[in-house]
Amino acid sequence: MSSSAGTYEAVMARKGEIIRRAVGIDYSRFESGSIAFDYEGMMASTGYNFDDVRKIQQLYGVGDTPLLELRNITALARRYAPPGKGARIFLKDEAANPSGSFKARRAATSIHHAGELGFTGVITATSGNYGAAVASQAAMHGLDCIVVQECYDSRGIGQPEIMEKARKCEAFGAEVLQLTVGPELFFVFLTLLEETGFFNASLYTPFAVTGIETLGVELTDQMRELTGSPPDAVVVTNAGGGNLTGTARGMCRAGARDTEIIAASVNLVGLNMADDAHFNRKSFTTGHTGFGIPFTTFPDRSDVPRSAARPLRYMDRYVTTRQGEVFYITEALARLEGLERGPAGNTSLAAAFSIAQEMDRSQTIVVQETEYTGAGKHVQPQLAFARENGIEVRIGDPREEVPGTSIVLPEDPAIISAPDLDLKDLRRRYIKHAVTFARERLEQAGTTCRSHSPLQFDKEDIDFLSAETRSSLDTVESMLRETGCRA
């Protein structure tokens, strides 16, 4: 390959064909209109039905994790709840998966599929638990694995949590390529896909997201067994949206149609995830609003053309927690329940602790994941790292926490709260992104379209946007008009 073929622009211009070859899905066959695509058609196109996915997971030790009732944390929540309030809190202990998190479910079908297609290796771009999940599953299937991590700032300093994830991937035999901050990680990822001919074990393919449906089915069945009915609410830590999408789809499959699906992210508002100077000023590398909000309001920003993770379709509510609250509840989980787990996975537990206090005592709420813990990936090193990097760490009122400046551990668990984001606003932002996306597609296709000319959306588009935003057709049309488009 000539050197000009390897430049950032040249590689990015080939991204469509690189991804098509590396995922084995022609996304264009599901697309229609200006924006519409057949989501359910894409989800059903994998060639694996739910039973197949479950069988693959069982074959490789994935899933069937315990569901535990957190009696002491429930009792603590009831201490602060109004009379008659304080739902029973349950926890799906996903740390029991082979790689230590629910991400093993996401990797299992992908890696199996890569093997079936004859790929000799897989690549994934992630600084999170997914890297270890892919590396672990690849080891089980005898495939090579490369994990590309965004790891360091320009001083060469990396968070202990990411260092630990790199170690775990290498423990499973993976090559770990560690990069400095920047979205050009995707360029590096594409270059590696071209060079190796490996499979793109994306987090966002139908294989990956279908793999999480087993989590939703299991927790529904386990709750039926323990309490006689599906939970009244489930709280899902939300970043790229796959965890929420897969869990909600699985619960629906298991007949839990009335359960409230609540997304929770750590509030990192004000920090730019692509900014070298902000990179080490956050103490959560995932499960935060820096991923959660962009991916909720524009799921197709991922490493595949059409993401199978579409959380706005499924969420009834979206709350935020603060870093200090999540660290506190991680300590509480260890001290009160005897379960030492990683902080990031406890984002939804912090939210559930607050939300349970709004619910009746007879109701139930499920926290649907935990993650493993270890050196680096633990309250103490993460807080120590924050302090070393100039973040003020103190005990006080978490409502005073400023992401990137301070972490405030609650002086009393009574003040742990989970403020709601405005879903209507998120839906409007989704529509704005969808319009931009449709316009860019038209321009890329070479269709004459001045950037200010109104786009035309047909009935298929409106139906699609209605399903995407769980809004009526009238509401979609009115939101489209706000962006200057004809509907």
Binding site: N72, I146, Q178, G182, D275, Q380
Partner: protein
């Protein structure tokens, strides 16, 4: 400069500049665009011998051959459970007294 000679097949770490600031995406924050995109990777040294700072070739854990500047031999993992934070000990004490009050 470390004068230690590192032999072939030693497990090492190399550093590579992937994009110079002027080659980076135009759609990134100024702080990020002001610096290069860098990478680090581990592997077995393919050169007969080398010193830290030399341009070398390595074979990674999956057999890929990559070149870059040698920066470490036998790199380890140094992340830990960190120093004790008095605040966490304080929270532990509080949780114990809350637990006792619940019983």
């Amino acid at each position: 400069m470390n004068a230690e000679t590192i032999g072939r097949n030693t497990w090492v770490q190399i550093h590579t500049i992937l994009l110079l600031p002027e080659e980076r995406s135009s759609k990134i924050p100024d702080n990020t665009r002001a610096v290069p995109l860098e990478s680090w990777v581990h592997g077995f040294l393919l050169n007969d011998s080398a010193h830290v700072g030399d341009e070398v070739e390595i074979e990674t854990a999956i057999g890929r051959v990559v070149s870059g500047r040698l920066c470490d031999s036998c790199p380890g993992y140094t992340h830990t459970y960190g120093p004790t934070l008095p605040e966490l000990a304080e929270i532990g004490r509080q949780l114990r007294s809350l637990r006792n009050a619940l019983q």
